[in-house]
Amino acid sequence: MDYSQFLNMKEELSLMVVIAIVLLYDIIAGDKRKQTMTPVVIALMVFHTAFTLVPSQAYSIFGGMYTHTPMMSIVKAILNLGVIIVFLQADIWLRREDTKIRAGEFYELILCTLLGMYMMIGAGHFLMFYIGLETASIPMAALVAFDKYRHHSAEAGAKYILTAMFSSALLIFGLSLVYGSCGSLYFDDVTYTVFSGGPMAICALVLFISGMGFKLSLVPFHLWTADVYQGAPTNVTSYLSVISKGAAAFAFMTILVKAFPELVDQWQTALYILIVLSITIANLFAIRQQDLKRFMAFSSISQAGYIMLGVIGGNALGMTSLVYYVLVYIVANLAIFGVINIVEQRSGKLEFSDYNGFYQTNPKLTFIITLALFSLGGIPPFAGFFSKFFIFASAVEQGYVWLVFIALLNTIIALYYYLRLVKAMYILPNETPIATFRSDACTRVSLAICLIGIIGFGLVSAIYDCINAYSYGL
């Protein structure tokens, strides 16, 4: 066997080096030196991201088990950006007395899930994809249950691992039916085998979509989302809501396009229903939430519905707009979670009503959260407007006019509940608002990155063009 093939998996290898260094540093460094853990991890991740962005050609290795396209480098770099922001925001939480001793574990588990997502994205074979998916979701369960003495965290962990296992059982049963009808699990072979229309193939597709629906938390597979998002530590929630969702969406799209092009009518119908349900039901539930993390959970379910609008066309424009949407969604959502996290760490408050009168005491944080909400809601000139515009354009190009119309109506509902939070912060009076506080340096840096992203990613068209140059579709 030619072992030099491993060298072609350069992103995975460099991430594994990062994991090894972080692990060794965590073991060897004394308690004093562990204070510098965050800068060390961030520096490593920045190097790793720079290495990821080195231009490369498309190729496949191990007989097609692992594939690489320049687009995948871009997606991996976007995920890295999100992980860096999450690490910056987690610094204040990891300095607390009760979590200090476990800080290293947090970094290692997050990086392990990231490695799983890389494998999921780069897979060219269902086995590779399944292993990547599980590498991404098993450590995630440990992260959700990270605050092990807090009841909510343990409860969320149990709910997450049980639903994750249930969904992966459905998924692997679907894959066994794919194998039974094709005799191979390479995406390319699945495509070329006669694989159209038979009941077994449709069963396989349905089970596969429902398994992925759980991971992406689309309605009606969303029931775990709100509880897990509320119970998990805030930094883990932010990671779960953007990065694992973005990676799963891209992998879902590549598999539907590469392995199931024969069944395109069937999966487009299924996605049509899932998108309408996800966007509408999640929006209606988000209106009545009182806990901010639950509110963000339902918001992220509806955003996942919008992301699926890029998948349903299955064309190159859809892939561009999906990746661009994920990029914009990462910075906007992480800005909000950054503020929620710092407020929780400083005052312990998480309810909607606690934010009444937030503008009087912390105007800068209010400003950031407002811009991020505008971006999520899709108000120009912020990046969210452009990402929504492109994703609607890609769906309209495929003829889904009514679907886009429903989605447009739902952006109005979404705007209502996003602006409810803005109203609470600026207008509603409060006897005892959250006290004025100064954020720590790491949080400020992360919020600055998010702010630049919210404004810059929309106005600098070079980013969209760069993504567009490498996209591909059916």
Binding site: L162, F166, L175, G183
Partner: protein, 102 residues
């Protein structure tokens, strides 16, 4: 009498259905875990049977082996979480795990 492919498929389908039913109806998290194991093993049986009867490559066997290993890893994490819950609550019934329900 020759044992045919259909026999294996019926068994795996029954196991899958039992697993789904058990997952939805049981109120003890460990019993739910056992139900999920049934579902995962049903898929593994499918892989092995398809491979043995229909195809000459070994992909199905490989997938079954990896599936077993991954199921073991998942179970290990799930049981660790449940032990933690038991330490906090002295119970692993689902009715004690609904504090966040709205």
């Amino acid at each position: 009498m020759e044992i045919q492919l259909e026999y294996y498929l019926v068994i795996s389908l029954v196991m899958m259905a039992c697993g789904v039913y058990g997952f939805l109806s049981r109120r003890n998290t460990l019993a739910m875990l056992i139900s999920i194991e049934l579902m995962l093993n049903a898929a593994d049986i499918n892989f092995a049977a398809f491979n043995r009867y229909l195809f000459s490559n070994y992909e199905g066997h490989f997938f079954a082996i990896f599936g077993i290993a991954i199921a073991a890893a998942e179970t290990a994490v799930a049981i660790a979480i449940m032990i933690n819950i038991y330490r906090n609550l002295k119970s692993i019934q689902t009715k004690d795990l609904e504090e966040m329900k709205h």
